[in-house]
Symmetry: C2
Subunit: 229 residues, 2 copies
DNA sequence: TAGGCGAAGATTGTACACGATCCTGGCCTC
DNA sequence: GAGGCCAGGATCGTGTACAATCTTCGCCTA
C-alpha cells in the first residue's frame, strides 16, 4: 500500500489500467470528478497523457466526458444497467458454449486458480478485489472461446457492470456467484456446451436479480449530485 | 465535390465522422497509412485534434494504432471477419425483435425514407454510399429498439463490417439486401417481433454467405503488405 | 557482393503555453 | 431582500516545440 512517491512514468495504458482497477474495486465512486491535473500529479505524467487515458475510459463507458466540464466516473442509469445485462445475456451464454467446446486442460487449471483467488479475496473480506476477479472470470471464458471481438465487447460490458453493481447492488451473499462459476468450470471440463450455455444464462439472470432496479431507489437528480460529494 | 479549401475548423468528432464515412464508402482502403500531419492539413487542424480522432477510431476498430509507427486503416483477418458477423448474429436478431415491438408509425416512415435513399444510391451506381446507407439501416433498427448500449456496440460492428466487405466481398447483386430490408420494414410495420427476429437472422446469414472467406484468398502477409502501397 | 553498422530523416510521444469556456462569488439595482 | 450582471478564478481545448523512437539509406568491411 505504500505506493507513494509513485512517480516514475506511466504510459496512458497504465493509467487506464490503474483507474479501471480502482473503479472495479470500488475505490472510486460513480460520479466522482477526475481532474486532469490531479490525475496527472498522482501518476507523475503531463495532462496530455491523462487526457488520452480519460478519453480511452470514455470509450469503454467507464467515464463520461463533458465538453469544457471535465471527466467524471460514469453513473449508469437504471435503464443503462438493464441494457448492460441484456447485452451480456445475448453474448455470454453462446460464448460459454464455444468455450466448452474448446477448453483445454490448461484452461481448466487457469480457471480453477482464478476461482481460488476469488475465494481467497472473499475470505479476506476484500469485496472489491473479489468483484474484480469475478469479472475477470467471465473474460477468461471469452478468451477460452477464442473470440477476440466478443471478448473486447464483454470487457466493456463487465466494466460497466462494476459500476452498476456499485450503484444498485442489494447486499446479499456474494458467494452464490462462486457456485455458479464452479458449476461452469465443471461444464467446461466435461466439454458440455449446452450445459455451459444454460449455466451462463442462468448466472446472468441471477446477477441481474440481485440488483435493486426498482423504479426510483437511488435518485440521481442534481439534488443528490449536490449532496453526495 | 469541390470541397477543397476545406479549412475552417473541424473538431475531433467531425474528423472521426468524415474518416468513418470515407471508410464506409470505400474511399480509403484497408491498410492505408493515416499520417497525422497529412490528415491535419486536409482538415485544417493541428496534430492534437487528429490524434484524438485517430485514437477514437482505434477504439472502434476501424483503425489500428502501432506505437511509434502510426495509424493505419484496419485490415480485418478472416477470423476477425467471421467474429464480427458472429457477434452481429448474436445481437441484431433480438434487437430487431425489440424494434418490432416498439416501432411507431414515424419510425416506419423514417425507415422507408432510408430505403428510398438506398435505392437511389444503388440506381446512381454509388455503391459506396449504398453500403453506408445499408449499415445505417441496421443502426436505425437498434435506435428504434431503444437500446443505446447495444446500438453503440452494433455501430462498432457495422464499421468493421464495412472493412470486411471491402476486403472479402465477392461481387454479386447488391440488391438482395434491399429485399431483406423491405421485408424487415414490413415485419416492423405489422409489429411481428418473431418475424423480424427471423428475418434479421437470415439477413445476416445472407450477408456472411456473400463474403469470400475461404482459407487463403487474400493473403495479407508482409509480402502483400510490401506490394500493395 | 553480401552483410552489418551508423548517421540522417521522418514520424510519433510528451510537455507546456496560450486561448476559450464555464463556474463561482460578490456587487449593484430594483 | 431577490434577482441579475460582471469580474475573477479554475478548468478544459488546441497549437506548437522539443525529445524519443523508428526507418532508411549509404558506407564500410570481410
Amino acid at each position: 500500500m505504500r505506493d507513494l512517491e509513485p512517480a516514475a512514468v506511466s504510459s496512458a495504458e497504465d493509467i487506464v489500467l490503474r483507474l479501471t482497477e480502482a473503479v472495479h474495486e470500488h475505490r472510486i465512486a460513480p460520479g466522482m470528478k477526475l481532474n486532469e491535473d490531479e490525475v496527472g500529479d498522482v501518476f507523475g505524467v503531463g495532462r496530455t497523457v491523462v487526457r488520452q487515458a480519460l478519453r480511452t475510459l470514455g470509450h469503454t463507458g467507464l467515464v463520461r466526458i463533458e465538453r469544457n466540464r471535465g471527466a467524471f466516473v460514469a453513473k449508469p442509469t437504471i435503464k443503462e444497467a438493464r441494457e448492460v445485462f441484456e447485452a451480456r445475456a445475448l453474448l455470454e451464454p453462446q460464448t460459454a458454449r464455444a468455450a466448452a467446446e474448446r477448453a483445454t486442460a490448461d484452461d481448466i487449471v487457469r480457471l480453477e486458480e482464478h476461482i481460488d483467488r476469488e475465494h481467497a479475496a472473499v475470505a479476506a473480506g476484500e469485496s472489491g478485489q473479489a468483484l474484480k476477479l469475478s469479472g475477470d472470470f467471465h473474460l477468461e471464458i471469452a478468451r477460452i472461446a477464442d473470440h477476440q471481438t466478443i471478448e473486447e465487447i464483454i470487457r466493456q460490458l463487465i466494466s460497466r457492470s462494476s459500476l452498476v453493481i456499485a450503484l444498485y447492488w442489494k447486499r446479499r451473499a456474494a458467494l452464490c456467484e462462486s457456485h455458479s462459476h464452479h458449476a461452469l468450470i465443471d461444464a467446461l471440463r466435461r466439454n458440455e456446451p449446452q450445459t455451459a450455455r444454460d449455466l451462463m444464462a442462468g448466472h446472468l439472470v441471477d446477477l441481474l436479480s440481485q440488483l435493486d432496479l426498482t423504479d426510483k431507489p437511488k435518485v440521481q437528480t442534481s439534488l443528490r449530485e449536490a449532496l453526495e460529494p
